[in-house]
Amino acid sequence: MIGKRGESDLAVAKIIGVVLAIVFLVIIVSGVSMGFDNLFNKVEGKFNEVLILLGIGGDRGGAGCCRSIEASIPDGTSGIVEVCRDKCTFNLTSPTELLGAGKFAIVVDSWNVQGKFLTGTQRKIFKRFFTGRAILPLDSSGKKINLKAWNKDLVAFDSNSNGGLSKDSKGAWFDVPSWGNDPEKSEIERKAFTGLTELMDELYFDFGNGKSKEEFFAPMEFDSNRKLEYVIESRLGRIVFKWDGTQWTRRRGKLWTTHPNDDEVFEELYRKEYQKKGGVVYILGEGGKGFKELKTKDDFRKRFDKGKEEWNKKMRAQKGFLSDLKSFLDNGGKGTRISFMGSSPQVRLGWMNIDKSRRSPIVYFELPNGEKFGLYYEGGIAALAHAYSGQKFEPSPINRELTFSDDEWEQFVEINKIYEFLRSRGCGI
């Protein structure tokens, strides 16, 4: 029995020995044939996979290689910053939301904001915040809310070159243009806006006479430099009649003549439209509003006179308004100067170009360095414009946000501070 047991023991030992020998042989042979580096890489890869599977290892390289850091913004918010190669994300911890969003990121060089559980009110705020951009609201389960209602906005958003949108299962990301996000500049613009708005409110209280604000400030939107123009387009060419408040000017090609008489202008417009056929008459700047729908000569004349009367009325209203405004500013009244950043600059009246074809009155002040801030009106709402020394006025990029309540504004500034913080830490550069 002993001898047999010894033989069995030997056999087991032999089997184990042979197996081990084969394993080492395989390692060495494949090492030699493949090159040891390749073998190591293969084993390393497999070993890594097993570690990842067991949850005790991870891919140390690749895009997923990120760092998490606790961060606090001085006098502001706290959060966890996740830094990856192409993306830095600020996850709010205190407070947990700003304007309804809890996550902010710089991806390559675009600024993204994520709102997970936006309420109706927050959606409205965000819609204002992302001027002219879309918002794709998702509920807490990630299900799309009211998607159809937002589809139009999405189309508009897609066609906007200022940013893009992407969404994940937790919410929606919105790109925000980086300009206008400088918190210091934002605060300065807010102060200028508030100061000038208060000044214009004083004017309203003094001269409002029961009018609504929209009605009262309407003359601030009238462009008196752009004269009333009737245009005839026909096979014979283009004729333009311009009314400047005192006389008509007729232009055909490069030839200019004056027409003191309304009747002469009207007769020419009427003959072109109704008698020569093929001609089209319209008032420039009224969206191509024409005279086609008018059936009789009397109707035509009424429309012609009404256009001129309305223009004259607006002109008179603006003259009166600007005269009141000028005397309010010039006569040492209480609104002559405003307090701004430790100085008290004089507020003046001027004009700014809204776009290539439109001008508008503006109340503005100039700082010692030549920088200017002004208030103009668009759609009955006050808006801020800014100009660097020697340059023309440009509308503020944060005009919608300037009308935020104090609480909303503070949150907006905090968001800006997060952006600046991430930029200062090397993100998005």
């Binding site: 029995m1 047999k4 047991r5 069995s8 023991d9 087991v12 030992a13 184990i16 197996v19 081990l20 394993v23 080492f24 390692i27 040891f36 580096d37 073998l39 190591f40 084993v43 390393e44 070993f47 890594n48 570690l51 290892g57 140390r60 390289g61 690749g62 290689c65 990120c66 760092r67 998490s68 850091i69 606790e70 961060a71 910053v81 830094v83 990856c84 190669r85 830095c88 200062s424 830490r425 090397g426 993100c427």
Partner: protein, 168 residues
């Protein structure tokens, strides 16, 4: 035994054999696998030296540190000494970006593994580093910088600042 059952000794031998086999396999993987990461081991060794040299500077002396290991041309592995200042990220030429997992004053031994920048050995200094990229430079830099293979830095601690000066 005639019935073909293993004896106690045979069973123990089998268990021992299988155990040895598993240990050998594990050792093989340990040696050749990711735990034996050349970059990681190299960074760890450099980091130990760096800490020693900073210790010399903190003791009032002048420390010296250099990256001597040549660039591994096969897998493009290259070591760097990187100071992040107050940045989370720092990029060097050829699109090589390195990330720092701390708040500020991070000094790290990093390596580029051919695809990614890895900075697992970092020291968060109590004081900022002011830096000159060569001895003739007039003013000091406080921003992030990197020293590569073949470059040497001298380390001093003057008051509440470290002085790092790079030389070839």
């Amino acid at each position: 035994m005639k019935s073909g059952k293993f004896s106690v000794v045979q069973t123990l031998s089998l268990i021992l054999g299988v155990g040895i086999f598993i240990i050998l396999i594990a050792l093989s993987v340990r040696i050749y696998g990711p735990a034996w990461n050349k970059g990681d081991k190299g960074a760890k060794a450099y980091f130990k030296t760096l800490e020693e040299q900073i210790g010399i500077a903190e003791g009032g002396g002048t420390g010296e540190f250099s990256l001597w290991q040549p660039v591994d041309s096969k897998n493009k592995r290259e070591f760097f000494l990187i100071y992040f200042g107050d940045k989370y990220k720092f990029s060097i030429p050829n699109g090589r970006t390195f990330l720092f997992g701390g708040k500020e004053n991070g000094l790290c031994i990093c390596f580029w593994d051919g695809e990614n920048g890895i900075c697992d050995y970092c020291k968060v200094l109590d004081f900022p580093i002011k830096y000159k990229s060569d001895e003739t430079q007039v003013s000091w830099d406080y921003g992030p910088w990197a020293a590569a293979t073949g470059e040497k830095v001298t380390i001093k601690k003057i008051g509440g600042e470290y002085e790092f000066v790079k030389s070839k």
